[in-house]
């Protein structure tokens, strides 16, 4: 298989398989999780102002008082890496073109130099949070294989995409194919690991806020 055949495979068969597994996994897990249900809480609801599920969705994106100072790396690193990743994934012209092709939706792109900068910033933030995870004994103790693995499959698409654009190490064609392959790995892994928070994040925040509100816990 030569470079162009490799690229054509990842754009064709590979993408077909990856998107198939991704959709299968996402729908499976969404149905499974949201059909679980909870026991009815028979206690009389208490009233706590602003403790609704809806508020929690937003408030949990902000650090509670004092926490930013206690673990700045987690918060700032986390913000930079998530926002950077969103910019790189959703505002780079070739990516938008793929989304348009698959869903019909499209929006304006940002200049590729800016995307390039954001990719570097995102990777730097990811490395910082990884180093923090390794250095802090508590974080290291709490980390499992899944944490290291999901970090890697998230990091690889950014790294290979940036290296492809920068023409580093391998010819562009090969690097582009590796980039698409790494995204396919991410798609396959996403529904079955903690990366599924992409879909469950707001639902579980809303649920927690609702339960806490019922119990009278101000959020």
């Amino acid at each position: 298989m030569n470079e162009l055949q490799f690229l054509t495979w990842v754009r064709g068969t590979g993408l077909n398989i990856a998107v198939g597994i991704f959709l299968l996994g996402v729908l499976w897990r969404l149905f499974e999780i949201y059909s679980l249900g909870r026991k009815q809480d028979l206690s009389a609801p208490r009233h706590a102002s602003g403790a609704s599920g809806f508020h929690t969705i937003f408030r949990r994106s902000l650090p509670p008082p004092g926490m930013l100072k206690r673990s700045p790396v987690s918060y700032i690193g986390g913000y930079v890496f998530h926002i950077g990743l969103a910019i790189v994934v959703f505002l780079f012209a070739p990516h938008i073109l793929l989304i348009k092709n698959l869903t019909g939706l499209s929006w304006p792109a940002l200049p590729s130099q800016f995307i390039d900068l954001m990719a570097v910033v995102t990777m730097a933030a990811m490395v910082v949070v990884l180093v923090d995870r390794i250095n802090k004994p508590v974080k290291r103790f709490l980390s499992t294989f899944e944490d290291w693995f999901t970090w890697t499959v998230t990091f690889l698409p950014v790294l290979t995409g940036w290296m492809a654009v920068q023409h580093l190490l391998l010819p562009y064609t090969t690097m582009l194919a590796l980039h698409i392959l790494s995204v396919e790995l991410l798609l396959v892994v996403l529904p079955f690991t903690k990366l599924f928070h992409v879909f469950t994040l707001f639902g579980s925040r809303w649920y927690n806020g609702k339960v806490n509100g019922h119990k009278g816990v101000p959020v």
């Binding site: 162009l4 054509t8 077909n16 998107v19 198939g20 996994g25 059909s35 200049p111």
Partner: protein, 361 residues
């Protein structure tokens, strides 16, 4: 024309000054990424060189490569240089035909054994023992093996000879392969392109005649000097790509403004060739300059690379599994949720109330 004519003499007959010739050699040297001093050495050597024997065998081809080299520059310097090699066999260009042509071929092979340059255009059919493509009752496969034996070097001209090209496209009915798939013991230079750029072949020939060497090749056997960079990286429309300005159709405002053709399927980013720098038709323009995206014709298997009008970041094939997978996923999820509910129900009905007496037991 006498066989022993040197290039210098022939050029003088054609009214070309030495100055023009040296300028030409300088451009060839720079094309092949040789040092500037090589231009004089090249002019000297080329000037004194006897017309080297070149045998050009056409296999499964469309004559586009011949058209490219003979027509586009006539009567340019490249065309003249081409007149000056001793093209002993080229079906399209030679006057002889039939048995005469075959005799000319065999005479040239015998006379220049071990010294001639063999140019192949077209892929080699291997299906049915090569019977899909025959000349004078012999298969291309047989002719290639025979002609390659006495060749000093082989130039695989065009994408078909270099990589199998269009005849090799899926489903490849003739079992077409590249020259390098058959011949393993001779130096082979691949000059892919559909057709390749004319000046590249004169450049390779000039280097071979001057220094007796072939240009430095990449791992696909292509001269690095020509195929070292992508069309995209050398494209004059590249700034538009970086700014995110794309033509969406071939006749919209973006197309008229000359914006990037990436969204219209341009394969420039994955195509290694010199079109954007050497250009075509005596440096007039190249496909992207004429408003059409690059189709990647000099890359192996470009014909099967997912369609000329699909952008590189688009799926090469429709995602056929998506709908089935989504339905299957939903079905699995629903099945599991029913199983979970059944489990919960069973647990509930198996629940026993603990009474005070039970604790005192």
């Amino acid at each position: 024309m006498e066989r022993s004519d040197t290039l210098q003499e022939k050029m003088e007959q054609n009214g070309m000054s030495r100055r023009t010739f040296i300028k030409y050699c300088a451009s060839l040297a720079s094309l092949m990424a040789l040092p500037p001093s090589a231009a004089y050495a090249m002019a000297e050597a080329l000037g004194k060189a006897k017309r080297p024997s070149v045998i050009w065998l056409p296999f499964q081809e469309c004559t586009g490569c011949t058209e490219s080299i003979t027509r586009s520059h006539s009567p340019s310097i490249e065309g003249m240089i081409f007149d000056m090699i001793s093209l002993d066999y080229q079906e399209t260009l030679m006057a002889a035909a039939g048995h005469q042509a075959e005799e000319a071929l065999h005479a040239a092979m015998k006379e220049n054994y071990g010294k001639y340059v063999l140019i192949i255009d077209g892929s080699v059919a291997t299906g049915l023992d090569g019977a899909y493509s025959c000349i004078a009752g012999r298969s291309n496969l047989e002719s290639l093996k025979e002609a390659a034996k006495g060749a000093a070097a082989i130039i695989a001209l065009g994408s078909c000879a270099s990589f199998g090209g269009i005849p090799k496209a899926n489903p490849n009915p003739t079992g077409a392969v590249a020259v390098s798939d058959i011949i393993k013991d001779k130096p082979i230079v691949n000059i892919p392109g559909c057709p390749p750029i004319p000046v590249v072949i004169t450049g390779v020939l000039a280097q071979f005649l001057t220094f007796g060497t072939l240009p430095e090749l990449d791992k696909l056997g292509r001269p690095k000097a020509v195929y070292g960079e992508t069309i995209h990286d050398r494209c004059y429309r590249r700034p538009f790509y970086d700014q995110g300005k794309f033509a969406k159709t071939f006749d919209d405002e973006g197309a008229r403004q000359g914006w990037c053709l990436f969204e219209l399927g341009c394969k420039g980013p994955v195509t290694y060739n010199a079109c954007a720098t050497t250009k075509w038709n005596d440096s007039t323009s190249f496909p992207i300059e004429s408003g059409h995206g690059c189709i990647g014709c000099s890359e192996p298997d470009f014909w099967d690379a997912g369609g000329f009008y699909k952008a590189l970041s688009m799926p090469a094939d429709p995602l056929k599994m998506a709908a089935t997978a989504a339905v299957a996923g939903a079905a699995v999820g629903v099945a599991i949720s029913f199983a979970n509910r059944a489990k919960k129900g069973a647990a509930k009905s198996a629940h026993e109330t603990t009474k005070l007496e039970d604790l005192e037991k």
